[in-house]
Each structure stands twice: as structure tokens, then as C-alpha cells.
């Protein structure tokens, strides 16, 4: 392999090395192989999204049901978007990590001594995932047709039953779109995990590539390959969640079994939906 110097003299190896690197079987094996890194990235994402869901869904349902606190929560969620994730992560790494003294490990996920860095990462990813799920959950409940809610009450349902049997199922499409936004954001952001010590994920290819950027075998082409992998992973996971959404959302709501052409939702929902951040 020869290093091709770009025409403008930046000295970066050409992108033609990218397919070569991706097709090299040695890059798909071992503890730094692509499957291991993908698995780490997905595990960070799954932990963060599940914990965020456990916190944000009940809270969102409660806010939507009672109508209390939506302005405050909306404001906080909006302000949270302005806080740079990297800054928050490094704040916790400098402040919290020295206070964590365990040396235990989780095989394949956290290596010995990695816990002080794993905890800040997960906290930051959870904080990132909560706002989209929370805001979509209460918006979803608030958007439920009041007549439907009245009918449920008229049938003698208790408040809890209205939430579980009516509001939650009706709000599910919006809740799922919140979960998908959150997952996309977390999967993309988990890339910066590798910036702190002893953590992995696909980002480690980007930051180790940055150290020897002009090397055609370990440098720039590897960074770009890792980027392609993260983007592909994000799209795949979103498709998967789209499939889950089809399975769990009632056909009566998704409009798939009705002959009417589905009407476009309120435009405010579409704007809120676009908050999945890169």
C-alpha cells in the first residue's frame, strides 16, 4: 500500500483505502475488532436508553395526565440541548471519576479500572436521552382526543386505568418517535466515549486514527471507516426500532388498516421530532 498525497498537499491518505480497510478480515477479529467495538457501542446505548426510558416515561405520562409542570419540564428540556455533551462528560471525568475506587470489571464491556470512566459516560448518555422521551411522552398524552379520555372515564375507568389502557397506547406513536430520537442521539454521541480512558466503542478507531493520521493503514482511512460504521449502525438501529413501533402501536392508530389516507400530524410535532441530534 502506498500513501497517496492529496492534491492540495494536506498529506492525508486517500479515501480509497476505506473499502480496503473495511474488507480486511483482521479488522473484524479480536478485542479491538469491529464486532467488539460495535457491541460496546450498542451496550452503552442500550443501558442509557433503557434507564432514561424508566425515568422519563412514567414522569412524562404523569405530566401529560395531570397537565402539571409541562411548561417547566419543556423549558428545562430545551435548555438541556444547549449544554455540550463533551463538556458535561469531561466535567464528570475530572470531578466524579477520582471518587470512584472500584477496580471491578464487566467482561467485554468495562475493563479493570474502567468503572470510574464508565459511570460518567452512562450518566451523560442518560441525561441526553431523557429530554426527547420525556417531551414526546407528555406531548403524546396531551394530544389524546379529550373525547376519548372522557369516554374512558365514562366507562368507569380509574385514573390509573385511563393512563395504562387509553393514554399510553394512544400516545405510543409519539413516545416511540421520542425513543428513536433519543437512541439516534445516544448512538452517535457514544462515539465520544473513546475520548476518555479505558472505554471503547467505535470512537476508539476515530481517536486512535487521529494519532497517526497520515498512516494509510491506521490513520485517516480508519477514522472515516469508523464514521461510516457509526452512521450505518445508527440507520440500522432506527430501522429496527421502526419495526418495533409497527409491532406495538395499535393498527387502529397507525392508520395501516384504515382506507383513509393518513393525515399529516400537527407541524409542531414534526419540529419537535427533528431534535435527534448528530
Amino acid at each position: 500500500m502506498t500513501t497517496r498525497i492529496l492534491a492540495d498537499g494536506t498529506g492525508l491518505p486517500s479515501l480509497s483505502h476505506v473499502p480496503t480497510w473495511l474488507n480486511d478480515p483482521t479488522n473484524w477479529k479480536g478485542s479491538n475488532g469491529i464486532p467488539t467495538l460495535v457491541q460496546q457501542q450498542l451496550t452503552y446505548t442500550a443501558i442509557a436508553v433503557v434507564v432514561a426510558l424508566l425515568i422519563a416515561l412514567p414522569l412524562g405520562l404523569a405530566i401529560g395526565h395531570t397537565g402539571r409542570g409541562s411548561a417547566a419540564v419543556g423549558g428545562v428540556a430545551n435548555a438541556a440541548r444547549a449544554v455540550p455533551v463533551l463538556g458535561l462528560l469531561l466535567l464528570l471525568v475530572v470531578w466524579l471519576s477520582p471518587k470512584i475506587h472500584t477496580t471491578s470489571a464487566i467482561p467485554g464491556l468495562v475493563q479493570r479500572g474502567g468503572f470510574p470512566y464508565f459511570v460518567p459516560l452512562i450518566i451523560v448518555l442518560i441525561l441526553l436521552a431523557i429530554p426527547p422521551i420525556l417531551t414526546n411522552a407528555y406531548a403524546g398524552v396531551q394530544n389524546v382526543d379529550p373525547e376519548v379520555r372522557d369516554a374512558a372515564r365514562g366507562m368507569g375507568m380509574t385514573g390509573g386505568e385511563v393512563v395504562r389502557k387509553v393514554e399510553l397506547p394512544c400516545a405510543l406513536p409519539l413516545i416511540m418517535s421520542g425513543v428513536r430520537s433519543a437512541t439516534l442521539q445516544v448512538i452517535a454521541t457514544a462515539t465520544i466515549a473513546a475520548y476518555v480512558p479505558l472505554l471503547g466503542g467505535l470512537g476508539s478507531l476515530i481517536y486512535s486514527g487521529d494519532q497517526s493520521i497520515t498512516d494509510p493503514r491506521y490513520g485517516y482511512p480508519v477514522m472515516v471507516s469508523a464514521g461510516i460504521l457509526v452512521a450505518a449502525l445508527a440507520v440500522l438501529v432506527d430501522l429496527l426500532l421502526g419495526g418495533v413501533q409497527r409491532l406495538i402501536v395499535s393498527p387502529g392508530l397507525s392508520g395501516r388498516r384504515s382506507r383513509r389516507t393518513p393525515t399529516r400530524g400537527p407541524v409542531t410535532a414534526l419540529v419537535g421530532d427533528a431534535t435527534a441530534g448528530p
Binding site: 494536506t10 444547549a82 475530572v94 477514522m223 464514521g227 399529516r264
Partner: protein
């Protein structure tokens, strides 16, 4: 807190420089991305077959992690790896991806009655666009621009992990020296910048939609 303040005073000129870089790296892409997205979104709102493919493509563009787009730029357009242009162009792509969807929906949601009324009053297509459709779409467009403005500001910080100097560099510095002060300072400055951007966009929306105040005042 007082130590954060003294850190600020000791590094004033460096921080001023970095703040300025952060401002233009966030603002210029917001402007350019929106200006490109408006006509494309308008076109998509009129052309049924274009809407879905365009929105899907924009959605996929938006899923690409920022760090990935930053490092891909040199290979795609031949810039240097540490050039701030990489960040500016990547953020333009994100702004475009977000705003194309918002503007397609904003233009599409303008009521047909308003458009027909304008046509009946003798407005040409172009007059209708600029004096009816665009003003009516401003609140929805504005909501999208607010999201893009705030997220652009915080996305700029990610570029510091690959060495593009701006306010995010304070995070890296704090991490390397195990010093909380620059990190806290930069977090405050980033949130302040985002608030300023958000405020300016809100002000713009207010100035462009005088009828909204007229209606509430009645």
C-alpha cells in the same frame, strides 16, 4: 465560582478569540444552511414525489455523528484536517438537513384558503410566495431555526476533540490538567451563547410576525 472568574480574567484574550470562533462557526452555517434549505423545502412542498425521498435523505444526513462528518470533510473536499471550514461545512449540512424538513412542512401547512384568496386578489405566484406563504410560514420556520441554532452551538464543541480550537478547547484543557475551572467556565459560556442565539432568533420571529401581537392585543 470565584476561581472560575479568575481563570476567565487570566485567559481573557484567548477566551475572547475562542468565543468569536465559536460564534461564527455556529452562526454562518445556520444562515447558509437555512438559505439553501428554504427553496429546496418550498420545492418539496409543491412536488409530491420529491417530499418523501428528500425528507428521508435529510433524516439520514442528520443521523451521521458530528465527529464523523468533521473528519470526513478533508477527504471529501480536500481541506486540511484541522481547518475550521470542516466544522462550518458539516454544521451547514446539519442545518440544511433539519431545515429542509421544517420548511417543507411549514410551506405545506399554509392554508389553501389564504393562497386562493391571494390569487383572487390578483397576486402573481411570486408575490404570493413572498408576501403570503413565506410570512405565514415564519413561526414554524422559526421554531426549526431555534432548534438548529441551539444545537449548532453545542455541536461546535465536539470539534475540539480533534483539535479545532474554539471554546470547546477549554474542556480538553481542563481534562488534561484535571482542572474543573475551564470546564465549568466553558459550559457556562456555551449555554450563554446558546441563549443569546435563541434570543436573537426569537426576536427575529417577533419582528417578522407583527400580526401575532395584533391578534393577542385585540
Amino acid at each position: 465560582m470565584s476561581q472560575v472568574w479568575s481563570y476567565f480574567q487570566n485567559h481573557q484574550s484567548q477566551i475572547g478569540q475562542e468565543t468569536w470562533t465559536t460564534v461564527w462557526l455556529a452562526a454562518l452555517p445556520l444562515l447558509i444552511g437555512t438559505l439553501i434549505a428554504l427553496p429546496v423545502g418550498w420545492w418539496a412542498s409543491r412536488t409530491r414525489w420529491l417530499y418523501l425521498p428528500l425528507i428521508t435523505t435529510a433524516g439520514i444526513l442528520y443521523t451521521i455523528p458530528s465527529i464523523v462528518l468533521f473528519v470526513s470533510m478533508p477527504g471529501l473536499i480536500g481541506t486540511k484536517i484541522l481547518a475550521p471550514e470542516n466544522v462550518a461545512i458539516a454544521l451547514t449540512v446539519y442545518t440544511f438537513a433539519l431545515m429542509v424538513r421544517v420548511s417543507a412542512d411549514a410551506f405545506g401547512s399554509v392554508s389553501g384558503d389564504a393562497m386562493s384568496a391571494a390569487a383572487a386578489m390578483g397576486f402573481t405566484t411570486r408575490q404570493r410566495l413572498f408576501s403570503v406563504q413565506l410570512p405565514i410560514a415564519v413561526p414554524v420556520l422559526g421554531a426549526g431555526i431555534r432548534v438548529a441554532a441551539v444545537s449548532n452551538v453545542s455541536l461546535v464543541s465536539v470539534a475540539s476533540t480533534i483539535g479545532v480550537a474554539q471554546l470547546g478547547s477549554l474542556f480538553i484543557e481542563g481534562n488534561q490538567n484535571s482542572d474543573l475551572h475551564p470546564i465549568v467556565l466553558a459550559l457556562i459560556l456555551f449555554v450563554l451563547l446558546a441563549l443569546v442565539f435563541d434570543g436573537l432568533v426569537l426576536l427575529g420571529i417577533r419582528l417578522l410576525t407583527p400580526w401575532q401581537r395584533a391578534v393577542t392585543a385585540r
